[in-house]
Subunit: 151 residues, 2 copies
DNA sequence: CTGATAGTTAAACTAAGGTTGAGGTCAAGC
DNA sequence: GCTTGACCTCAACCTTAGTTTAACTATCAG
């Protein structure tokens, strides 16, 4: 194990990768995209402050929630720039995902329940049940699958 | 309105697009990817049987559930090739999404609840709470955010 | 028959979220 | 002081789910 940098308070890209489980290429990509920052050594190598680890954890967790990187970047911008973020700072920005997440859970549940409803007839949303509507009379109501899309 | 093709039992790509709300380019793409099929006229134009409308509805509904096209194609392969699928056929393949969907709802709920748990300390899954674990001692346990990923 | 509308193809392009490779540099251990 | 592994950049490539464009052909109403 070389380049431990463990006496210093900073970590290398390889260490950050090992600790976070995120490939170095992805970490460089995040930096290009403005999600994380690094100091450079005299030899142009990246050095990360330790709180970057938490930042990367926040990014990955947010991605697991289905949030696009651009949105994550914007929300990370709400953290204070002048000091190491506190627990309260992280708690505050975590709240940003709350309503989005609740909304998506509700949508999936609704879709699942409609799927259940329709399994009996196999209509799957396009024609409002072939039983009562044998030859897609719903075509008049405009394009798109109806039923599940509306409301 | 030209090319109604309504005397025939087949529909053109434009009609299918209008009825399904899916762009002709997407329908051709689905055909290249093996999700739908068409007959060709003597002039090389596509003609779809009417049940393609239901097939497309199934595709779009499945996509709304977050299923990738390749998976949808595989499941559509379970339909009978020799006859027009019945309601029972559609019901049967719809069941394929059931467990997947339930699973994803559970995962999102779990993530949401852990997010809630962690908002108090802002730890967000990487270090098992900075309160009891101030300097990421979890790094020994291998790469990747722990907590939310495990079990 | 003509003109408008609708259809055909292949290939290029998009966007997100990265990975891979070439060619070259840095830093640590012996 | 050299070797080796970790690092650097830049550009090209990957996947998914399509859209767009160019150049051309088919079909239909009148």
């Amino acid at each position: 194990m070389t380049q431990l940098a463990s006496t210093a308070r900073e970590i290398t890209v390889g260490e950050l990768a090992g600790r976070s489980g995120v490939a170095p290429s992805a970490l460089r990509f995040y930096e290009r995209e403005g999600l994380i920052r690094s100091r450079r050594t005299s030899g142009n190598q990246r050095r990360y402050s330790r709180d970057t680890l938490r930042r990367v954890a926040f990014i990955r967790t947010s991605q697991r929630l289905g949030i696009p990187l651009a949105t994550i970047r914007d929300v990370l911008g709400l953290l204070p720039e002048d000091r190491t973020p506190t627990r309260e700072d992280w708690a505050r920005i975590s709240e940003c995902w709350r309503s989005d997440l609740d909304e998506r859970i509700r949508t999936l549940q609704r879709l699942r329940d409609h799927l259940t409803d329709c399994i009996g007839c196999g209509c799957l949303s396009l024609d409002r049940c072939s039983l009562s509507n044998p030859d897609d009379a719903l075509a008049d109501h405009g394009p798109g699958p109806r039923r599940l899309l509306e409301e």
